[in-house]
Amino acid sequence: MVDPRTAVINERMKEVARIIAVSSGKGGVGKSLMASTLALTLAKKGCKVGLFDLDFTSPSTHVILGIRDAKPKEDKGLVPAKVYGMEYMSIIHYSGDRATPLRGADFSNALIELLSITKWGKLDFLVIDMPPGIGDATLDLIRLIKNTEFIIVTTPSQLAFETVRKLASLLKELKIQIVGIVENMKMTSNKNVQQQTQKLGLDFLGTIPYDPEVEEAIGDADKLIETAFAKEVQQIALKI
């Protein structure tokens, strides 16, 4: 028996110019904020952008952007919800605010289902908010969508960077494109992460200082895009 869904995934993605997965080895480093703000930034620049929240068990881009009632439409598949000029897809359209506990095989099945039925259309960028680590989401994305590129987010912490190093080495081994590494929540002037990124032979996309105002902007996309955090993301967007 053959699962036919995977046969149509590349067809669904054929009009998407670049697929950028915002990833990290650790949770809590700002991946979802980065992915949401990057997608908003690119959309505001006039690009056609999609944002796909792949953190099925802990989705948060809808909270960051204050998305409440937007729903995908059915038209020979699912047409993503339209929010802030972007195409938006998240499991929360179906789970609401309830917990969705998924084991690995269930995660993979849900991902394959969404990739095979979602019609993204023509996009300049599809930004994907990844769950942390090098588990099912990373492996499935690499397996199913061949031209995915990764932006890796870390904090200045050696604990975070150690997991980033593992993620980067896996991606390099698999010959997956890494756009670069972003250092978030910077509170000192040391250049450890920048130097270690260069040692890995990767591009350092920039430093984002810790911005206490971001928390106040959660749920309000217009406010978020005006924060110091977003201004730094705008500079990073110029490099991708």
Binding site: M1, V2, T6, L78, S95, T100, S116
Partner: protein
């Protein structure tokens, strides 16, 4: 209407297999659909007929539904999937993403959401027959 998207997947996969096996004409395509998908069979058949390429012109599409069966990982209880026990919105959510069952269904014995969908999930291309 996401039946259409799944029918597209079936046609794409069947076409790939036909190509690989050097079939000039496909005469039969057997598909198994899990009950959790809650597919509208008429729409699915209609989509298959509309989407089929020339090689499939005379093909028969045989679509069988596999009953849903769930098994609790916590206590081992097995039970059948029953759409009628769900409200409309929950059933619709499971229709789009069957794994959303873990959001809306709990083990009837111990209440755990940690269960396995042992039967009745997915769309499967069972076999294709044709002429070389």
């Amino acid at each position: 209407m996401h039946e259409w998207a799944l029918a597209e997947a079936v046609i794409a996969a069947a076409s790939q297999i036909a190509e690989k096996e050097g079939l000039k004409e496909v005469t039969e395509v057997k598909v198994r659909i899990g009950e959790l998908q809650q597919i509208e069979r008429d729409i699915f058949y209609f989509a298959l007929r509309q989407l089929k390429p020339a090689k499939f012109e005379k093909s028969k599409f045989d679509v069988e539904t596999e009953k849903g069966r769930l098994k609790c990982r916590a206590c081992g209880k097995e039970w059948p999937f029953n759409k009628n026990k769900l409200d409309k919105d929950s059933a619709e959510a499971i229709h789009f993403i069957p794994e959303i069952a873990h959001t809306y269904i709990k083990c009837p014995k111990c209440g755990s959401p940690d269960f396995e969908i042992i039967e009745g999930r997915g769309v499967w291309l069972q076999s294709i027959k044709g002429v070389k």
